[in-house]
Every structure is written in structure tokens, then in C-alpha cells.
């Protein structure tokens, strides 16, 4: 295996690295930093998507450290697309200082995501997690003029480091038990062993680390402050890209690595030994996320708690297990990620216009910008799970897979809980829409809007419309994404 081969197989990552360095250089050198850097970053991401499409269909390097497979390539493209939309939404006339550095760090985080998605080996997964995590911590703290950004970054960093420590410790136990770090090999080794307490500790610790990443309760406490305090593009990327990649990796670890591990007794007739842990996490996330979201008056915090709830729904697919479960999980988290980027995009524009993102800042949005109101309603209703949007199909698929999985409908309780969580969530999504459509613009909002003018850039509008159309399209014709995922599993 030559160095050239490695370069060819890692070409997407290399393209993004070069783009990141170029953006960094241009940002320092040029005065019109934000325009050129955004353009270069976006171009680089598009080229990287092209590079992914030109990869061979299957290849493995270094015992699973870099695996090219249809699934990995698909999710590299999805992560790159999410980064692309984030870069577009970060573009603004009066953006943060050091816009070039900001974009470079987004790109570095993207590389971390691609490494995560592209590996099936525990050490590389950890490296990907760390690269992503460190970039995201910096992105969260990037707005030096806002004390909440610093708070968000610090909380995210402290939480994240602890969680990473847990993950690493858990991984080391797994390594100790199995003697290898490649996921497939780990799975084989664990199949031959009976479950031991040490292995159980290792599994739980690894799951704890990942539960932090996906903001599953009770490891979600960082989410509200980070989603609210970080600069909006950072929050968008954390909510979307990081989640998608984490679910891909979690799925692989749990289904490939831990798959053969059976529990001592079938608890509520569930599938594998680790499934009860995930089921409890899912149930807690759904309940806590939805109930606390009811009390929120700030849209970003509301989205954070709803993210917790959606992590719960998505975990349902992993609890169900099997190819169907994994495919349902991946479909739902992808759809969710695009929806969240769109929702945060709307929040960014409203924030720019009215200097705030509480519910009252959204009042009367329909009269100031019907396009934004329409896009936001598509995003909120998709999150609530209403047809004909993607969230509806995603939930249907997820719940039917979960229902089918348990023997004697053992997961019925979880499906019912998730459905009633959805019902509760409809209330707070409708409140956001009520404020947008029925309330009149507050005085503060109209006066600020008057001074800034309708300063909503055309690019942002196009981006949001594209995202809204994607969500609608995936709801009407889910086969587009579903067959891709199913074929690649």
C-alpha cells in the first residue's frame, strides 16, 4: 500500500484541509475577508463532494482506520453538504471578526466529521471525535463580544472533555477485553465471550461518551446553553453535522462492535444486552426534552431541548437494531440535520434583524418576510412530524421498525412514549408558528427592522428556500434518500 494510494483514498479530506489552510491564509491577508473566504470555503466543499463521488466503491486501509464504503461515502457527502449550508448561512456583511479563522475551523470540524464517518476502528473514531470536538469548542466560544458565547464554549469544553475521557476509558476496556481495535474484529472476539462485568462497564462508558455527543438525557445539560450562546452558525453545525456523524459512529459501534453481546436475561423481550441502556436513554430524552421545551421562551433554547427529544426518537432505531433499525436511524438523523440547519438559518436572520432570538422577536414575521415565515413553518412542522414533510415519514419509518423489532411487541411502550412526546412537541412548535403568523410585530422589532432595512441577503434566502424544498421533497418522495441508505447498508 503506497502513499499515493493513501492520498487517493483520503482525497476528500485532503481537499478540505487545503481549503481550510487557504481560507486561513486569505483571511489574514485580505481586507474583503468574509466575501472571498466564504466563496473559497464553499468551493472547496463542493470540490470535496466531487472527490467523494470519485472514490472507489470499497477499500480498507490500516485495519479499518480508513474505510471506503457506500455508507461512509454517502455520509461524507451529507456532512460536507451540511458544512456547505453552514458556510453559506455564516456569510454576512457584518460578520464576526476573523471570519477567515471561523470558516477554517468549520472546515477543520468537517474533516473531523469525515474521519469519524470514514473509520471503523476505535482509535480513529476517537481521533475523529477529538478533532471535531476541539473545533466545535472553539466555534462555540468564537464571539468574543458576547459573554454567553464564552460561557457556551467553556461549558461545552468541560462537558465534552469529561465525556471524551469516558469514551476513551470505555474504549480501553473494550480493547482490553477483545485485544483489537477494529470494530468488526471486536465484534467477532466479543461474540465468543460471555458477558463480564468489566465488559459491561466498558460498553456503558463508551455509550455515555456518545450520549453526550448526541445530547441524550441525562447527558444533555450542555445543549441549551451552547445552542443559545454560541454564534448561530456554530450552533447550527453542532446541532446538525456533529449529530449525524455521532449517530453513524454510534450505530456502527453498537451494531457491529457490540452486536453479538447478549444480555443475561431478555429484559422486556428486547434484543441485545446493551439495548436496555439505550432504551432508557431514549425514554429519558423524549420525556425530559419535550417537557422542558414547553417552558422555553427563547427559540434557540427551545430548539436545544427539542434536539434532546429528537435524539431520543433517533435512538429508538438503534434500540430496534438490525439493518432496518440502523437505516431508520440514519434517515431520521439526516432529515433532522437539514431541518435544523434551516431553522437556525431563520433564527440567524431574525437575530440579525431584531437583535434577539426570543419568541417575541419572531412576532409578526409573516408580515416582514413571508418567505422566512414559510420556511420556518416547514422546518417546525417537519420537526413536529406532520405530513407531507420529511419528519413525518421519518417518524413513521422509525416507529414501525421499532415496533416490529421487539418480540411480542416488546418496544410498544417506547413507541407509545415517543408518540406522546411528539404530541407534546406539537404544542411548542405551534407556539413558535403562532407567534410568527398571528402576533403583530412588536414595537422594538419594527423599529429595528426599519433602521436596518430589509437587510436579508439574497443568498440566505435562496439557501433557506433550498433547504425547505429539500425537507418537503424528502417528505413526498422519501425514496430518494431511503434507497441510498438501504443500498449502502
Amino acid at each position: 500500500m503506497s502513499y499515493l494510494e493513501l492520498l487517493k483514498l483520503a482525497s476528500p479530506e485532503i481537499v478540505v484541509v487545503i481549503t481550510a489552510l487557504a481560507v486561513l491564509a486569505i483571511g489574514l491577508a485580505s481586507t474583503r475577508a468574509s466575501d472571498i473566504c466564504s466563496f473559497v470555503a464553499a468551493l472547496g466543499l463542493v470540490l470535496a463532494i466531487g472527490a467523494v463521488l470519485m472514490l472507489p466503491r470499497n477499500a480498507t486501509l490500516f485495519h479499518g482506520m480508513l474505510v471506503i464504503s457506500p455508507l461512509n461515502s454517502l455520509f461524507k457527502i451529507i456532512c460536507l453538504a451540511l458544512a456547505f449550508f453552514t458556510v453559506l448561512l455564516a456569510y454576512a456583511k457584518n460578520s464576526l471578526r476573523n471570519h477567515g479563522e471561523y470558516l477554517a475551523i468549520i472546515l477543520l470540524a468537517t474533516i473531523g466529521l469525515m474521519l469519524l464517518v470514514g473509520s471503523e476502528e476505535l482509535l480513529m473514531i476517537f481521533i475523529g471525535l477529538e478533532l471535531t470536538g476541539l473545533s466545535l469548542y472553539v466555534m462555540a466560544a468564537f464571539d468574543k463580544t458576547d459573554v454567553r458565547s464564552a460561557e457556551a464554549g467553556l461549558k461545552y469544553f468541560l462537558f465534552g472533555s469529561t465525556a471524551s475521557a469516558f469514551t476513551l476509558f470505555g474504549i480501553s476496556f473494550i480493547y482490553g477485553m477483545s485485544g483489537t481495535t477494529g470494530l468488526a474484529a471486536v465484534g467477532q472476539k466479543l461474540a465468543t465471550q460471555s458477558i463480564q462485568p468489566l465488559l459491561f462497564v466498558g460498553i456503558v462508558m463508551t455509550l455515555v461518551g456518545f450520549a453526550f455527543k448526541i445530547a441524550a438525557a441525562p447527558f444533555h445539560l450542555w445543549a441549551p446553553d451552547v445552542y443559545q450562546g454560541a454564534p448561530v452558525p456554530s450552533a447550527a453545525f453542532i446541532a446538525s453535522g456533529s449529530k449525524v456523524a455521532s449517530f453513524v459512529v454510534l450505530g456502527k459501534i453498537v451494531l457491529v462492535g457490540f452486536g453479538p453481546v447478549h444480555g443475561s436475561a431478555a429484559w422486556h423481550a428486547m434484543i441485545a444486552g446493551w439495548a436496555p441502556v439505550l432504551a432508557v436513554l431514549a425514554a429519558l430524552s423524549v420525556v425530559i426534552g419535550n417537557l422542558v421545551a414547553l417552558a422555553q421562551s427563547n427559540v434557540r433554547r427551545l430548539l436545544a431541548y427539542s434536539a434532546v427529544a429528537h435524539a431520543g426518537y433517533t435512538l429508538l432505531g438503534l434500540v430496534a437494531g438490525g439493518r432496518d433499525g440502523f437505516s431508520a436511524t440514519l434517515f431520521y438523523t439526516t432529515v433532522y440535520a437539514f431541518t435544523l440547519v434551516g431553522a437556525f438559518g431563520v433564527v440567524a436572520l431574525v437575530r440579525r434583524e431584531t437583535a434577539g432570538d426570543d419568541l417575541q422577536n419572531f412576532a409578526g414575521l409573516w408580515s416582514r418576510s413571508p418567505l422566512l415565515a414559510g420556511c420556518m413553518s416547514i422546518f417546525m412542522l417537519s420537526l413536529a412530524g406532520l405530513p407531507p414533510l420529511a419528519g413525518f415519514f421519518g417518524k413513521f419509518y422509525l416507529f414501525s421498525v421499532a415496533f416490529r423489532a421487539g418480540a411480542n411487541h416488546g418496544l410498544l411502550w417506547l413507541v407509545a412514549l415517543a408518540l406522546f412526546g411528539s404530541l407534546v412537541s406539537l404544542y411548542y412548535y405551534l407556539i413558535v408558528l403562532k407567534v410568527i403568523f398571528t402576533d403583530q410585530s412588536g414595537d422594538a422589532a419594527t423599529s429595528i427592522a426599519a433602521t436596518l432595512g430589509s437587510d436579508i441577503e439574497l443568498l440566505q434566502r435562496i439557501t433557506l428556500s433550498v433547504l425547505a424544498i429539500v425537507v418537503l421533497l424528502l417528505g413526498i418522495m422519501p425514496g430518494i434518500l431511503l434507497t441510498q441508505i438501504a443500498v449502502s447498508l
Binding site: 406532520l386 405530513p387 413513521f396 419509518y397 414501525s400 415496533f403 403568523f437 398571528t438 425514496g479
Partner: protein
């Protein structure tokens, strides 16, 4: 052909969103008339034999991996429901002719409700039916929250959450059926033998989920609040069509897929239905707000539908379908008069206030429509309500004779509250003050206190000048005449519809497998 009702409606909805406000109502009118014309043409073209079973119109693979197909089909029952949807849709557009606050969005949401309803009635794929069923929920919220009146935000949220709650229960039932049978095609599912154990819990969950939207007691409280809060067109659509979505889906999905479960639970359904009829009628008797009276009457009439469904014989179920048509038209007409004709002009719905206004002289056409609608609602022969209710009662007599006795008593209550509403709203004694004559105590008394008006003899010789109210417009007259014609036509010649409904009902599996 009939599938085009769905496409035309949705296309119209999207198109009018981008047009100037004044045009939107015309586009809405053209769209609804076109869809109704399509369904009428299907009505006359399709032979009665064809309509006896569920004919596939369109079947296109949608998500082959999950067995989802875009599958539309029609039979006599579906066709009846599509007809009533068309009628009520045209009438509601006509009665919203003067909406000037954001008309584009108003007609957009209105057409979404109509299109979604067409979709539910024509779906033959379980997922597609559920998709259209849930699609209708959000437009209702916006229609009420933006253009509604009394307590609109509370009413809208309550209605939406109740509907979604019903939808959640339906979701569980649908997933249970899908996972057990491995198919989403309604025809295949109807043939599938579900294990009785599954049916015993899946049927009540599924049926109650659908029945929430049909206004089953005690999960009916969203209906009066929501209907009162809604704008006129909203109430017409809600009472006329959306409540029927629940009962139709209960018939098409719950009863047809889980016949043994239905047999296990139908006594309970009959009990709840009868309670609903009597309870809602009794509550309507005490209402001071005209629209609340009409709202509770809707719940009472839907109780008839549920009773008919619970009888599990061809006659009762056919009567239920006919009642769905009949009440769709009658309920729409009642809400149209109460909302658009009366409330918009007098700005009050309080029966005491209305009784002092002498509306029978000020708005003679409105009085005429309301009398016709009330007669139909009471079940007077010659109108569709009689045909439907007598069919249901004959069917119920075979299985639940006690229910028929109790319902008979309930019908007396229905007559009582209807007559009270008619008398107080239109035919009250006009007072010389021309305003509200709030009499203390019993709401049934209408006579003004004798100390400050002239004697009744003088009043009859020199009737006070009727209040200056805008006359009923031509558009409103068209809408009302359309609905009155429909109820009269079906009332005088119910065979028109029953010939198409009964064979379709008899073909349904739950009747064939012995009841």
C-alpha cells in the same frame, strides 16, 4: 378521473398563494367548483355495480422498500363523501367571499383542508390515508388562530392538540396493522387475518383515535370550542367534512381491518354514541351562544353516525354513511347562517340579544335558511336528516333496541334545542329599544319586561323599524341554496345515494364474516 379532485385542489391552493389578494377567492371558487364537477361526473359515469367494491384508480409504487404505494380507489361510500366534500367546499368559499384580512393565506389553508379530505376519502393505502389525515390538522390551526373569533387561540390549540392526540392513537394502530400484516394496501389488509389477541387492543386504540375527530363522547370537548372559535368557513369545513374524516376512517380502516376486535368492542361504541347524542343535545339546550348550540348539535348528530357504525349491519352502517353526507350539508348550512349571515351583521351570537332584534323581518332569507336547516337537523321528513336517521334507527333496532328508545328521547331534546334556537335567534319578540333585552333568569323566556314597552297589540299594528342590517348578498344566497337543494334532493330521493352506498357497505369484510 375522480383522483383529479385532489390534484386540482392542491394545485389551486399553491397557485393562489402567489396571486394578488382579490383574485384568490375566484381561484378558490373555480377550484372547488371544478373538483365538485369532477366528482359529479364520476357519480353519473360510474355504474352502481362498479361502485359496489373498492375500485382502484391509481396505483403507483411510492417507496417499494416499505410496500408503500400511491394507491387511490373509490367505491360508493368514498364517492358519497367526496360529493359532500365538494358541496361544503363550494359553500364555504361562497360564504367567505368578503374575507379581506390576508385572503391568500385564508383560501390556501381552506383548500388544503379540502384537498386533504379528498385524499382521505380516496386513499386505498394505509400510509397515504394517514398522511392526508394528518395533513388536515395544521391548516385547521391556522384558519382558527388567525381568522377566528371567540377564544381563537385557545380553541385552535385545543382542537389541534386533540386531533393530533387522536392521530397518535391512530399511528399506533396503523403501525400494529402494518407490522403484523407486512402490507399497507387496504384491500390486502382487509383480507388478512389478524390474530384476535392483537385485534382486541389494536381495534379500540385505532377506533378511538379516529373517533376523537368524529366527536365521540367524552373526547368531544374540542368540537364546540373549536367550532365557535373558527371563522364561518372554518366551522363549515370542520363540522361538515373534518368530523366525517374520523368516522369514515373508523369505518374504512378500524372496522374493516379488525372485524373481531370490532365485534368485541361495538357494544361500548354504541353506549358512547348514545350518550353522545343525548348529552350533547341536553347541553345544547342550555347554551346562550347560537354557535355553541350548533356546535353541540354537531356532536349530537355525529353520535348518530357512530351509533349506525356500531350496529354492524348493512342498514345501520349505510344509514351512518348517509348521515355523514346529510349532516355534512346541514351542519355547514347551520354554521353558515349563524356565522356569516347573523354574527357578521349583528356582531353578537347571544340568543337573548338576538331575540330582541326581530331578525325574521330584517333578514328574511337568513330566517328562511335557518328554518330549513333546523327542520333538516331535527329530522323532519323530506330532508336528508330524516332519511339518514330513520335508516340508522331501523338498523339499530335489530341489534340495540334499548338504544333506539334512548335515542328517541334524545331526538325530542334535539327538537327542543333546535326550536329554541330558531325561535330565539330569529323569531323573538322585537322590543322597541331595538337592542338586547336581557331578561333575568330562564333563558327560554323572551318577552321584554312590560314596564317600558308598548303593549303587544300596539307592537303588532306598528312594528318597530327593523335594525339596519346589510341584506343577504347574492353570493350568500347561492351558497345557502346549494346546501338546501342538496339536503332536499337527498331527503326526497335518498335512493340516489343509498343505491350506491349499500352495496359498498355490504361488500365490506366485517359484514361478510358474520355479525
Amino acid at each position: 378521473m375522480i383522483a383529479w379532485t385532489i390534484y386540482v385542489t392542491f394545485a389551486g391552493a399553491v397557485v393562489l398563494l402567489f396571486l394578488p389578494g382579490g383574485l384568490s377567492r375566484w381561484i378558490a371558487l373555480i377550484t372547488t367548483i371544478a373538483s365538485f364537477a369532477l366528482s359529479l361526473s364520476a357519480f353519473f359515469q360510474m355504474s352502481i355495480v362498479d361502485l359496489a367494491h373498492f375500485n382502484t384508480i391509481v396505483r403507483v409504487p411510492w417507496v417499494p422498500m416499505l410496500g408503500m404505494n400511491y394507491h387511490l380507489a373509490v367505491d360508493g361510500i368514498s364517492l358519497t363523501m367526496v360529493l359532500v366534500t365538494g358541496l361544503v367546499a363550494i359553500a364555504s368559499v361562497l360564504f367567505s367571499w368578503d374575507v379581506d384580512h390576508r385572503p391568500n393565506e385564508f383560501f390556501f389553508w381552506l383548500l388544503l383542508v379540502v384537498g386533504g379530505s379528498y385524499g382521505v376519502f380516496l386513499s386505498a393505502d394505509l400510509f397515504l390515508l394517514f398522511l392526508f389525515y394528518e395533513l388536515v390538522i395544521v391548516p385547521k390551526y391556522f384558519l382558527i388562530a388567525i381568522w377566528g373569533s371567540t377564544n381563537k387561540e385557545y380553541g385552535a390549540m385545543k382542537l389541534t392538540l386533540y386531533s393530533f392526540f387522536g392521530g397518535a392513537l391512530v399511528f399506533i394502530g396503523i403501525i400494529a396493522a402494518y407490522v403484523t400484516a407486512g402490507s399497507l394496501d387496504l384491500n390486502q389488509l382487509a383480507e388478512f387475518q389478524f390474530p384476535p389477541q392483537l385485534q382486541s387492543w389494536a381495534f379500540p386504540v385505532l377506533f378511538i383515535g379516529f373517533a376523537v375527530l368524529a366527536g365521540i363522547w367524552p373526547l368531544h370537548t374540542w368540537a364546540p370550542t373549536g367550532h365557535v372559535a373558527a371563522p364561518t368557513a372554518g366551522s363549515m369545513l370542520l363540522a361538515g367534512i373534518v368530523m366525517k374524516l374520523g368516522s369514515y376512517a373508523g369505518l374504512r380502516v378500524a372496522m374493516n381491518l379488525f372485524p373481531q376486535g370490532f365485534q368485541m368492542w361495538r357494544n361500548w361504541i354504541a353506549v358512547l354514541a348514545v350518550i353522545g347524542i343525548v348529552y350533547a343535545a341536553a347541553v345544547a339546550l342550555r347554551q346562550r351562544d347560537l354557535k355553541f348550540v350548533v356546535g353541540y348539535s354537531s356532536v349530537s348528530h355525529m353520535g348518530f353516525v357512530l351509533l349506525g357504525l356500531a350496529t354492524a349491519n348493512a342498514l345501520g352502517v349505510s344509514g351512518a354513511v348517509l348521515q355523514m353526507f346529510s349532516h355534512g350539508v346541514i351542519g355547514a348550512l347551520l354554521f353558515a347562517v349563524a356565522g356569516r349571515m347573523v354574527y357578521r351583521r349583528t356582531h353578537t351570537r347571544d340568543l337573548d340579544a338576538l331575540s330582541g332584534m326581530g331578525l325574521s323581518q330584517a333578514l328574511p332569507f337568513a330566517a328562511f335558511s335557518f328554518v330549513i336547516a333546523s327542520a333538516a337537523s331535527m329530522g323532519i321528513p323530506g330532508f336528508s336528516g330524516f332519511a339518514a336517521e330513520i335508516t340508522i334507527l331501523i338498523g339499530a333496532w335489530k341489534t340495540y333496541p334499548v338504544a333506539v328508545w334512548i335515542t328517541g328521547a334524545g331526538m325530542v331534546l334535539v327538537a327542543a334545542f333546535t326550536l329554541r334556537a330558531v325561535k330565539q335567534s330569529f323569531f323573538g319578540e322585537r322590543s322597541a329599544l331595538g337592542g338586547s333585552t336581557a331578561s333575568p333568569g330562564d333563558a327560554k323566556s323572551y318577552s321584554a319586561s312590560p314596564t317600558f314597552v308598548t303593549s303587544s297589540a300596539e307592537r303588532s299594528i306598528h312594528p318597530p323599524h327593523p335594525p339596519d342590517l346589510a341584506p343577504i348578498t347574492l353570493v350568500e344566497k347561492c351558497g345557502a341554496c346549494l346546501l338546501m337543494f342538496a339536503t332536499l334532493a337527498v331527503g326526497l330521493y335518498p335512493k340516489l345515494l343509498l343505491d350506491r352506498i349499500m352495496p359498498a357497505v355490504e361488500a365490506m369484510r366485517f359484514l361478510k364474516s358474520g355479525s
